[in-house]
Structures are given as C-alpha cells and as structure tokens.
Symmetry: C2
C-alpha cells in the first residue's frame, strides 16, 4: 500500500471511528467494512497518531479519543458548514504569508472561495507593509480568495464586512467584550486580537480577485508576544483564561464570512450596518486619522454604508476612506 493510499485509508478510518468517540471499534470489523487487511488498519491508525489524533490502540480494537487542534485539511473540513468558502483549501504548516500564496493561486486560476491556512507565518503581513506576528501552534492565519462580480468601487467595504464576521465569531467566546477598531482590527478590552488585510487586484470596472487575509491571536500566552507588542496585543486565551480550539473558531468565522459576503453582494453593508456601529471602538471618541502626510483630528461619529469613518471636525462632517487612527481621549477620561 502506497503512502498516499495509506493516508486515504487513515482519513476513512478516522471518519468512521470519530463518529463514536470513546468507544472501541473491532479491528476485524473495520477491516471488513473498509476492505483492508488488519495490518493496514493498524498502520492507518499509526498515521492518525502521527497527525496528533489521540487513538487508543488495543490488540483487537481501536478507539477514537480526541482530535488535535491542528489547522490541517482533515480537521478544517470536519464540521465546516460553509458551501463556497473553503470548498477548495490548501493548508500549510509554515509559510511566509498566506495572502501571498492566495494571490499566487488566484493568478493560476484558483476558484472563488478557496482558502489558504497556515499554522505559522514567517513573513506575516499587516497593513501598510507592517508585519503581523504569527508564531506557530497558537494563532489562526487564513486567507480567503474571492472573485466578486461587482465593480472595484464596492471593494473597500469588504474589510469592515470581514471585521463584523470576525467580531461575531470571537463574541461567541467573549460576548460583549469585542470591538472593531476601524478599519481593520478586532479588539478585546482595547487590545488587538485580530487583524485583517484585504488585497485587491483589479482593472478599470472589474475586480480580478480579492484576498482577505486574517490573523487571529487565539492561544498565545503573555510570553508568546514580543515585548514591543505585549502592551497592545492580546489573545482569546488571555481574556478567557483558557485555551480555545482554533478549528472551532475558524469554522465559525468562515461560516459568518460566507453569510456576510452573500449579504454584501446583495446590498453592501446595509444589513450589517447596525452591527458595524455597535462593534465600533471609535464612535464617540476624539481621534486623529493620519492618511499619508495628512492628519485630521475630530470626533468619530459614524461609519457610513461605504465603510468610511465619519468625523466631526469643527462642526463639519468629513468622510475618511482609510487611515491610521489614534484615540486621543476616551469617553471615560
């Protein structure tokens, strides 16, 4: 049996035994139903152990104990309820940047909804050429390839749409504690937990593709963050005081994203506009927004249907498309 065949058998075996977690399966019965020898079944169970599944192997039986929290194809597929996003996926142990790989795949014709995940990024990118710290085994790094049929002028709202999908997913663990920092970060208790980098390839009037990249700090402990970002970064684990299964959070996020995108295609941010406002960390705050060399100071009063931040500057309203926001004074201070 080739390695490839053995891995296929391992996947089939897994799908059978994980249905009755904790209960022993008779090896002879498994051999019969999966049309394999006892030795092959035993080898396949060995493969599952290599993949960090916990399996109890006895002389005549195999018992599924638990699945690893690994961002691997098999685990991500198991329980993923989306219909389009993640239908095609490529899962890496370690890459420079999932967004770069997704863009490459797009260039080679990858389909709408394809995703790229990684357990670690060695050159994880944030907005404006910054790095996104992406250590192994603790975060989620995922890029989603979309091929919108709408025109490029509707692309800018996709970052906020994604932020809502992400904030909703994290809120299932931490209800009421999640905020969106316009335009592309998600905060827990005022600290950065997740970031979004939306990249667009387009021509006049037509989008070639969009890559939505997301980095989520899930199970990082304080020691996992480099000193310079320690005061401003946090993770779900730090806020919850327990670990979160990354695969579960990824499932929720991808399903939210698929629904949000369907709504966005239809009517932009309209249906999620109430949430955009409710999650906003900035509305009501005195802030400065820096765009290139230009800096504006004012009070953030709204986010509009195009995802622009609305500032009140000396009685006038100004819409800001993008920029670096600093909160000058919080409401409570």
């Amino acid at each position: 049996m080739s390695r490839n065949e053995l891995e296929q058998l391992a996947e089939t075996l897994l799908s059978v035994i994980r249905k009755r977690s904790g209960q022993p399966h008779d090896i002879r019965k498994l051999s019969a139903s999966l049309k394999a020898t006892n030795t092959d079944i035993a080898s396949a169970a060995g493969v599952l152990a290599d993949w960090e599944y916990r399996i109890k192997k006895r002389k005549s039986s195999i018992t599924f104990v638990s699945a690893p929290d690994s961002l691997i194809d098999t685990e991500i597929r198991h329980g993923l309820k989306t219909r389009i996003i993640g239908k095609s996926m490529v899962c890496y142990q370690s890459v420079q940047s999932t967004n770069d790989i997704a863009a490459e795949l797009a260039g080679r014709g990858a389909e709408h909804g394809a995703i790229v995940t990684a357990d670690q990024q060695t050159k994880g990118r944030g907005r404006l050429g910054r790095t996104w710290y992406s250590p192994p085994g603790t975060g989620i790094y995922v890029s989603v390839l979309l091929r919108p049929r709408f025109t490029p002028d509707r692309a800018p709202g996709l970052a906020i749409m994604t932020a809502v999908a992400l904030a909703d997913a994290i809120s299932e663990y931490l209800p009421g504690e999640v905020q969106i920092k316009w335009p592309n970060d998600v905060w827990i208790n005022g600290r950065k937990t997740a970031g979004i980098l939306t990249e667009l390839s387009a021509e006049q009037g037509r989008i070639h593709y969009v890559v939505i990249g997301v980095g989520i700090n899930v199970n990082q402990g304080v020691g996992n963050f480099p000193e310079d970002i320690r005061p401003i970064a946090t993770s779900l684990r730090r806020a919850l005081k327990r670990k979160v299964r990354r695969v579960d959070l990824l499932h929720t996020f991808l399903l939210n994203l698929e629904k949000a995108y369907a709504a966005y295609e239809k009517s932009g941010l309209k249906s999620m506009h109430r949430k955009v406002r409710a999650y906003s960390a900035l509305i009501g705050e005195e802030i400065t927004v820096r765009t290139g060399r230009h800096e504006t100071r004012g009070r953030a009063v709204d986010i509009d249907l195009d995802g622009r931040l609305i500032l009140e500057v000396e009685g006038r309203r100004e819409a800001v498309t993008a920029g670096e926001v600093t909160v000058v004074r919080t409401k409570s201070s």
Copy 2:
C-alpha cells in the same frame, strides 16, 4: 572582447556617429577616441547593422545613415525627454503581455516609472479579459509601472488621464481627428486606434502599484487586421496614408504621460478636464452602458472630475464608474 563589451562599444560608437548623420567618421580617429582597435570598431559597426541601423562602412570610415524604427532600449532611450517614466526599461521582441511582465517586475520591487515594451504580444490583453491584437513590427505595446502615494479611490481616473496623454500624442499627427471613447479607447474617425488597460494592486487605503498598459495601432495596413476587427479598427498609417516612426510616437506619449501624471497627483483630472470633455466621443450621444448584467440607456452629457461618465436618463443624472458603451444614435443621424 566579450559580446557584452562589444555591445557596449557599439552603443558608444552609435552615440558618436549619429550626432553627425550622413557624414563619414574616420575609423582611426574613432579607435583613438573610443580606446579600441580598428577591428573592434569594425565589429561594433557590424553589431549596429545587426540591430538594423543603416551604416555605411568604407575601408577607413563609418557613416551613420539612419536608425531603425525598433522598440529597442537604445532607440527608446535616444531622445526620450522624460525624467521618471522609462528611467528603467525592459524591451522585448515578443512577450505574452507587457502588463503581466510589469506586474511581475512590480512584485520584485521594480521602481516607480519603470516601463516594459514589446514589438509583439502573443497574449495581448484588453479590458474584461478580451484580447488585444498585437502583431509584430507595426504597433506599440508598452506598460508603465506607477507607485502612486495616493489612496486607491483615486485610481479610477488614471485610465482617462492616460487616454488624454495618448490622444494628445496621436493628435500631433492627426490634429482634430482624435477622440476618446470613454473609458479606455482612443479613436481615429470613429475607429479604435489605441486601448488602455489599467490594472491595480492595492490594500485598504494603499496602492501597491498600478500598471498602465497601452496598445497603439501605428503602422498596420488593412491586411494586418484580422477580418473580425477590420471594420472597427484603424491605425495612424491608415489615416495618414504614410508610416509613422513608432519610437517618436512613444517618446511623445511617455512625455505627455509623465506631465499628466504629475498634474494628476496634484489635483486629479482638474487641469485636464477641458481636454477630457473636448476629446470625448460620447458627450452628446444617445448611448447604452452595460455594467455586468445591468444596462442603462441615456444621453451622455459629461465626464466628471472622477472620470465617471454622466448620463441623463429620463431627466435624472446618473454617474457611471465603468461599463461597456454602445452608441445608439449619433448626433448627426
């Protein structure tokens, strides 16, 4: 002398002898001033002949007769008056698509203003995934890489800006006969002479790069066009009844583009808005605009400062960002 050294010597020789076109240069004097043997000078003259320069070679003298109309580095550099656009250039005999190569170079860090030219494209691309017919020896296929510091929402006007630079260049040969068909074609006598494909790579609030690709039908005769586009396409040569030196037209276009871009950076289409209107083939016409599955019919009344086409539809004004325009009825009909 290596091939590389010989080519360098040929370029130096060329720069010396072309200064006094038609006049013989003494080979011994050339040898002395260029620090090379007589044999090397003769070989260098042979290289120039390979490059299709017309050179008269006598026993003791070399005379420059004329330069080829080739889109090669040396010819494009000679007489190019730009300061930024074309400072870095890559010139190909034949490529699939100059836009694809420019995007590749951009990914590898090529600088603002770099250009890619080709004598022929085997997969020349037009808007909306269409092909742009790009036969050898007759057209100009050039892509310009820009790295604007303005935000992506200002990118859409670049196509119209380029169309103006192009229409100005062609008008030097055919004053009063050139029109812009919004958003990205240039017409002579109602027939397509040049097309523009602007491609954008961007993230939220920041442009990574823009590639402006231009294809110009210069010296095509009727027989050079495939039958299906013969009724709708034309070339400068067909309109002028004589050939045009492609390199000269390219120089004019690139210089116009550099000036137009400097103006655009400062104030968008403002300074060229009068020209945008004057060149427009659509203003005043009854047209339909198709965007995806949506079709609008109305009278084109203006192009605004964002490069959008303004339609009058049953008394109301509508702005169109992009789309496929068909003229329903011309003013004269």
